[in-house]
């Protein structure tokens, strides 16, 4: 590993902002040549004596539900309650389908103190991916995993495939604004599979929040009765009054502990996702012949970065130009 990379890893592990910022950029880099660098940095991170092991909390909710400001509050509270805890937020916003550019505005709603090393915020564009995450979101999470204790991943919003955030998150939080009754009926159809915790946000708005809360609670208790899985917790929250925030923090952390998924499973899922994105159904059809299941292929290749290169080579031949990791 090069001297500069060594410094970068040391700086990032010490949570200094400039090296952290640069290190994350390496995990966003789509140039084929970036994979080797990423592999070296990732190896150094995962072997570092002061590495951490993050639990991931996925956050989703309709635009306007107030999820950004809620995530900011939660990060602040977690860091304040435990002076050893380091918290990162990865916030994904949609890209324009016309220009490909994106307006990443979450920082206007979340303001974390600039001088606090244990809090880190990164905005990301979704690119033209369909789910709630961006092309590089999982890559960045691979790095954040070893640098922080808690990583919030805030998705674009409620879309078609929240399953991604369910896999990535050890716990998933769905943020709902107070809604009229009909809307609750409508929303819950698509939502019930995802959350470990539901926040009925902006509870300072009184009656509509109360109605939303009662409707959700009744429906969820009913749908989970008897099937053995724990019903999602429903918490009324407000950033204005601070109501419910402590309870929400506790719920999220304990549920993330309980449901904590193995990172290998996440890698396998997102490796498949990468194949689909890069090579389409053809790539997925070839996977069993090239290396068995995604998990088997990852294990045999010696990690995510090598697996990408190996798969591209197997599919395209030795030169393997024109793909991006």
């Amino acid at each position: 590993m090069q001297r500069g990379e060594q410094d970068l890893v040391e700086g990032a592990v010490a949570l200094a902002k400039a090296p952290l910022g640069r290190l994350v950029s390496i995990f966003e880099d789509a140039r084929p040549g970036a994979a080797a660098k990423r592999k070296r940095v990732h190896a150094a991170l995962s072997a570092h004596p002061r590495r951490r092991e993050a639990s991931f909390i996925g956050v989703t909710g309709a635009p306007g539900s107030g999820k950004s400001s809620l995530v900011g509050e939660l990060a602040l509270r977690l860091a304040a309650a435990d002076t050893d805890l380091a918290v990162a937020v990865l916030a994904v916003d949609p890209s324009s389908h016309r220009s490909g550019g994106a307006l990443l505005g979450d920082r206007t709603r979340v303001r974390l103190p600039a001088g606090e090393r244990r809090l880190f915020f990164r905005s990301q564009s979704s690119g033209l991916e369909l789910g709630g995450l961006g092309r590089a979101s999982f890559q960045v999470c691979r790095a954040l995993r070893h640098l922080f204790d808690v990583v919030f991943v805030e998705t674009v919003g409620i879309g078609q495939s929240e399953i991604e955030i369910r896999v990535l998150g050890d716990a998933t939080l769905v943020v709902m604004p107070p809604l009229a009754g009909d809307h609750v009926q409508f929303m819950k159809a698509g939502l019930m599979e995802i959350p470990d915790v539901l926040a009925v946000h902006k509870s300072d708005q009184g009656e509509p929040a109360e109605v939303t809360y009662r409707t959700l609670k009744a429906t969820l208790d009913l749908s989970h009765a008897g099937d053995g899985t724990p019903a999602p917790a429903v918490v009324k929250t407000s950033v204005e009054t601070g109501a419910g925030l402590a309870e929400l923090c506790a719920e999220l952390r304990s549920r993330a502990e309980r449901r904590r998924g193995s990172f290998a499973d996440k890698e396998a899922y997102f490796f498949e996702g990468w194949i689909r994105g890069e090579f389409g159904r053809y790539g997925l059809r070839r996977l069993p012949a090239i290396g068995g299941t995604a998990a088997e292929f990852l294990a045999a290749s010696g990690g995510f970065d090598d697996a990408q290169a190996a798969f591209a080579r197997a599919l395209l031949g030795d030169d393997a130009p024109g793909w991006s990791p």
Binding site: G21, A34, S95, S99, A102, S125
Partner: protein, 681 residues
Amino acid sequence: MASRVPKPSTQTPHALVSEGGEPERDRPWIFRTYGGHSSAQASNRLFRDNLARGQTGLSIAFDLPTQCGYSSDHPLARPEVGKVGVPVNSLDDLHVLFEDIPLEKMNTSMTINGTSMWLLALYVALARERGEDPAKLRGTTQNDIIKEYLARGTYIFPPDASMRIIAEMYEYCLEHIPKWNASNVCSYHLQEAGATPAQEVAFALSTAIGVLDLIRERGQFSGDSFATCVGRVSFFVNAGIRFIEEMCKMRAFGELWDEIARERYGVDDPELRRFRYGVQVNSLGLTEAQPENNAWRILLEALGVTLSRDARCRALQLPAWNEALSLPRPWDQQWSLRLQQILAHETDLLEYPDLFAGSPVVASKTEAIKAEARAEIERIDDMGGVRAAVASGYMKSALVRSMAERAARIGRGEQTVVGVNAFAEGLPSPLVGGDDGGLFSVDEAAVREGLEGLEATRRRRDPERARAALDRLRRAAERDENMMEASIECALARVTTGEWADALRGVFGEYRAMTGIEGQSLGLRGRRADEVTRRVETLSRRLGRRPRVVVGKPGLDGHSNGAEMIAVAARDTGFDVIYSGIRLTPEEIVHTAVEEGADLIGISVLSGSHLELAEDVMARLEEAQAGDDIPVVFGGIIPEADIASLTRRGVRRVFTPKDYELVQVMDAIAEVLEEREARAT
């Protein structure tokens, strides 16, 4: 007072007569000049000079830290201290500001909103310490928070808390300072933000309705005392260059207000239904090109609000001819004041009853404005009132649309602006040829003096009393008790402006307005936009991701439109834009850029603090070892002469109002990034 106002004569319709039947003139309106700068000492000198020259009321401009609730030594405040007005940190500053100016004789207008209660508390405390009777104080705290959310940006607290402050001030003033206008509903800033005459009337009256509905709901007043409260609502209006229409607008304002007071609030006494208003004439239409022409514009705009006796303003302040270039110098202000004096004292304007009563043209035009405004007021009412119409973004987007239409009309030449899109050729103006180039600059020594004064106040005060006063303020805020007395005690205890606002921020939280940029598109299309987009695509391939641009506004000026347009334009040409909003410290901007791994920082400044801010940002980037990695560009109202200084400090490009072509700005930004890539390889 009303009995001394002359009445039209019954014998000769063109004459005014006194009670005793003697021919008489009207008393002139109050002459004001909006002023204040550098420090309390410097501003006191300015006020006394202006009064000596025949100004009859004070209109105080506060600097942005004072308006936004920061003491002068706060990191956000430092570059802005004394720039656009006087800094007031504590009661000690107010003593200096009003030295040798008798409060009881003064009619004082304060352009203050987020910290309005604090400034009124300071003024009352000043009267108490000087042994003057607070009940005799006359004047106005601007205190219109709605237009701050919409256009001006110096809000601090969320809407509910801000509206409560306004209501509490009405409740306090009615009981203790009956001649004080607790708030001054502003249509002024709405016109500056692009409002049409009907929008100006409708939005301002809806704001007044919002305040009065809240006061009625709080239930402190009923019957006659509520009618008195309605009578205390005053307005601050704009007057543009279409001066006939503006005169009709003023009549529409008066007639509609009368209607609302009567029908909505049941006020019987016509005196309490009078539309009382002060005016600052339009600045939006003043031009940077051929600035001497602005003198004529100001004169014509003044006619719009003085010609018609029935719709004449009660107080008038005029901008200076060079307002589009810089803050006015004392001579510029004197020149504007002379205009008022000539109009009131030399001409025969004040000798006649209303000149337009019975004019079918004026009546019809007035009715047309009223009808349009009435429909708009109803629409806002249906949305749930002015607070809902602000929260939903309805009012903001209506203003943005009107402003864009105005710009388009000027661009197409459909609306003539002499010296800009017509008759642009002219001789150089000797007015801008002086040693100072016709510009005002802040007295840096005076600013330093002010900072030392703040230190001294903190050192000398009784810390126990200050702490207790702040505790009392917090308690009052939490328990929903009127906060005026607690604020006055804070003033007497030498609490500072920053401490007062911080205590309430702790209780109410800080409001962050909707940026208004989500879902916006500028519709940048065409060949040149496509070329820029392709250029950005090429850059993206070289970088391995889309170029990431941080756009932010340091300092306290809240005029975010420029920064927002740049952010949207950058997104529309393929950049990933991290928009970090307004009121940022240089530290926060650099922190954001570093944390986000940004490729470029774009900074927008309109307050005149660009040199200090550039210095600070560049130093912090060096410190973060990102000086070479992250190029910086600036945009805003930046004088030609300062561009070289910015470039010397390492700023890569500077955009001024001349660069209104967004595609060109985006092209230049792409170019800066290509230059960086070329350096790196």
